[in-house]
């Protein structure tokens, strides 16, 4: 389990609130997206409420009950506003 981690990417307003755009996040065992968002909120209280945030795992949109595992690329962002 040592060294097990995910790569976390922050975009747009989320990146502004965390003050970083990318970091490595230790993940000893897999968790649901919702549980991981609780960890995220504990570290960055300024992101609350995290229920509004969207997750992508390995560059695919996922629901909050999706599983996150070591080695994943996890992106956190507000609902998209392109087009």
């Amino acid at each position: 389990m040592n060294g097990a981690a995910i790569k976390v990417l922050y975009f747009a307003q989320v990146a502004e609130l965390t003050g970083t755009r990318q970091e490595s996040w230790p993940l000893p065992h897999s968790v649901s997206g919702a549980d991981w968002l609780c960890q995220l909120e504990a570290r960055y209280p300024q992101l609350a409420p995290v229920s509004r945030l969207r997750l992508a795992v390995n560059q695919r949109h996922v629901a909050h009950q999706a599983s996150i595992q070591a080695g994943d690329e996890v992106a956190v962002f507000e609902p998209v506003t392109g087009g």
């Binding site: 502004e16 992508a56 629901a63």
Partner: protein, 201 residues
């Protein structure tokens, strides 16, 4: 073909190339421009941030879904990122088809889906110096849901489903009617990353 780039694009040249590749009877295009997003203040410019890689992959998946649903000879999407001034082009969608109804349907589907699935974020810089991240319009999520698709990430919460599955956009209370979110005056600079990606499919 999906192109994400900072530079402006020449829609006429793109359409001519599309036409040259097919004996299409019909080409329908959509062009989106920088307009005033705030109701009470003039927009000076937009900054478009995106998630390189996922962005192109999502748009390509959207085009593939359109091609599976309607008769499409080829779809082309160009989306700009970075700093865009008022009235500049943001996005161009062109669909070639033998049938105009299919071309209209596919083109509108693609831009509707792009607005709720493709990972772009707009920051609006107002003429008075204020800066805002534009929030997703509930109307856009509703439009996507009308096609029978689930808007990306609408499935957060316990009743959620993956974005690829069918579902309803109405599952997220509190998302509605937030036209814009104030972050802070000029707080935007640290988020500014403008990359140019070009991918073909």
């Amino acid at each position: 073909m999906v192109i994400v780039q900072q530079d402006d694009f020449d829609a006429a040249r793109l359409q001519a190339q599309l036409r040259g590749r097919h004996a299409a009877g019909a080409i329908v295009t959509f062009t989106g421009y920088v307009r005033d997003y705030a109701q009470d203040a003039a927009t000076r410019s937009l900054f478009l941030e995106h998630y390189p890689g996922m962005c192109e992959r999502e748009i390509e998946a959207i085009c593939a879904a359109a091609g599976a649903r309607w008769q499409v000879l080829e779809s082309l999407v160009v989306h700009r990122v970075g700093e865009l001034r008022h009235k500049e082009q943001i996005v161009f969608v062109a669909v070639a088809s033998a049938h105009r109804g299919d071309a209209f349907r596919a083109c509108e589907y693609i831009i509707d889906a792009l607005k709720t699935r493709a990972p772009f974020w707009k920051r609006e810089n107002l003429a008075d110096g204020d800066s805002f991240w534009v929030s997703q319009h509930q109307a856009d999520a509703d439009k996507t849901a009308q096609w029978g698709d689930d808007p990306a990430g609408a499935g957060c919460g316990p009743a959620a489903v993956p974005a690829e599955a069918a579902g309803s956009a109405a599952a997220v209370p509190g998302q509605a009617a937030r036209p814009k979110t104030a972050i802070s005056r000029n707080a935007a600079s640290q988020a500014a990353t403008s990359q140019t990606e070009e991918t073909s499919s």
